[in-house]
Symmetry: C2
Subunit: 290 residues, 2 copies
């Protein structure tokens, strides 16, 4: 496993392999890896010939009052986790390598980025799509792997790729959870004391939503109200948003029918956590029973 | 010479050649070709193995009150001009092929696009950089050729390529002019009667600027004022802008020193024409003589 720091090294390492017919897989990460990231890496290892994992805490996707400075970083730890997975290349550039001059060019997906996380994190998705475009141009992957945990990000990247005819297949990989249901996130390290237990409220809300839908709830607004009240009963939790959206447009839906996505962001203390799940109405006989 | 209408055909035609080592050149155009375009094509033919010319009047770069509908189009004429130049592929997609659904993703270069043509054509450069990104992803050229006549566009595309690590070399090709100095432009066909003669004012202003600089003029504002008054003496002309800018940042300069760019946009009747030229102060002994 090579750990490369510069764009030119990555291009020099990837291009000859790609020209020789290797299928290239990219797993873009911000490091401080957990089993969620490793599930992406394993999928890439299964499906592609050359697996590149990028580790870059991208300042462009953090707001001025966000946690860019304290975001956890530990390249040695990350490398120790990646080596046994058969990763070929770790690309861990410096900020100066990625942004040698103030960047003036931005890739922005409109319509999908104003709601949900975009509402409380203005500029976040612009930062994500811009750095992902850069990474795609540097690595030239055939396939890129993103976690479904960041569902809005996944759908925004999918749309970007389609709109701009990028030559990459985007694969979404299911969320990996702790035994109690908490979605794995590098930000879980921020949770202190009782907060870790309180953080279960996100997955419990998802389970509750799935139960209510199974029982016939089809009114998205009623479901959101129920879940918001449910989360509010946890004293350490503060809802940022609870939404039921179309999985493609990310626009709120009124009726829960077909396949819709429940997405939520909840502050646990000062730590903002997100989670999401499909709310599938698979049995049309249940329709209208709510 | 193949004329291809779909993205998949272009990818199928270019990729095997590129994988086999061919250097791919792209000349993006809006068609209704003239000798300026052909000079780009000849340069591409000299420097690359597979020459692709795209012909696409891109609605995204036209404002609502601009000339998208009446922009001249004649693919048969264009094909007849390109075939003798040894072009390999003409990519002439429909609007539906390029925008099968409403596009939500935009590539935008900030800082370089607000002034000059960007001031009177809001959204124009966003449309240009977005479609150029799409064309780059579709054709995957090693080199792309742009005319210096659209100097701001050239510099905006260069910056985009650098900022986003796009794998293409951008080559600027000098402006081709009519014998009387008028820069070739597909929009010159709009000029009626006396307007054609009046359009000479753009190049005459450039020549005047170069003379004044040769005589020692170093004050950009004084030069702009002189040229604005000079152009105003032509009754059919109305100045949109006259500017002396840094060729990289496109920001106005105060002093004419080193290499700066004179750029101008002038309405001749209802036709908006642009032109530009370097104002080089090559002889440091002249410094301060103005």
């Amino acid at each position: 496993m090579e750990i490369l720091r510069t764009i030119s090294e990555v291009k020099a390492a990837v291009r000859p392999r790609k020209r020789a017919g290797a299928r290239v897989g990219l797993v873009p990460t911000m490091g401080y890896l957990h089993e969620g990231h490793l599930s992406l890496v394993r999928r890439a290892r299964q499906e592609t010939d050359l697996v590149v994992v990028s580790i870059f805490v991208n300042p462009l996707q953090f707001g001025p009052r966000e946690d860019y400075d304290r975001y956890p970083r530990d390249l040695d730890r990350d490398a120790a986790l990646l080596a046994p997975e058969g990763v070929d290349i770790v690309f861990a550039p410096s900020v100066e390598e990625m942004y040698p001059e103030p960047i003036r060019t931005f890739v922005e997906v409109t319509g999908l980025t104003e709601g949900l996380c975009g509402a409380s994190r203005p500029g976040h998705f612009r930062g994500v799509t811009t750095v992902v475009t850069k990474l795609f141009n540097i690595v030239e992957p055939d396939v890129a792997y993103f976690g479904e945990k960041d569902f809005q990000q996944l759908q925004v990247v999918r749309r970007m790729v389609r709109d701009l005819n990028m030559n990459v297949e985007v694969v979404g990989v299911p969320t990996v959870r702790e035994p109690d249901g908490l979605a794995l996130s590098s930000r879980n390290v921020y949770l202190r004391g009782r907060e870790r237990e309180a953080a279960r409220i996100l997955y419990r809300a998802i389970q509750r939503a799935q139960e209510l839908v199974a029982q016939g709830q089809r009114d998205a607004r009623a479901l959101v109200e129920d879940l918001t009240a449910f989360i509010a009963r946890e004293p350490l939790a503060r809802v940022d948003y609870v939404a039921v959206v179309d999985p493609e447009t990310l626009a709120p839906v009124e009726r829960i029918e077909g396949r819709v996505r429940l997405a939520l962001a909840v502050y646990i203390g000062s730590t903002r956590l997100i989670d999401n799940a499909e709310l599938a109405v698979d049995n049309p006989e249940l329709e209208g029973a709510g």
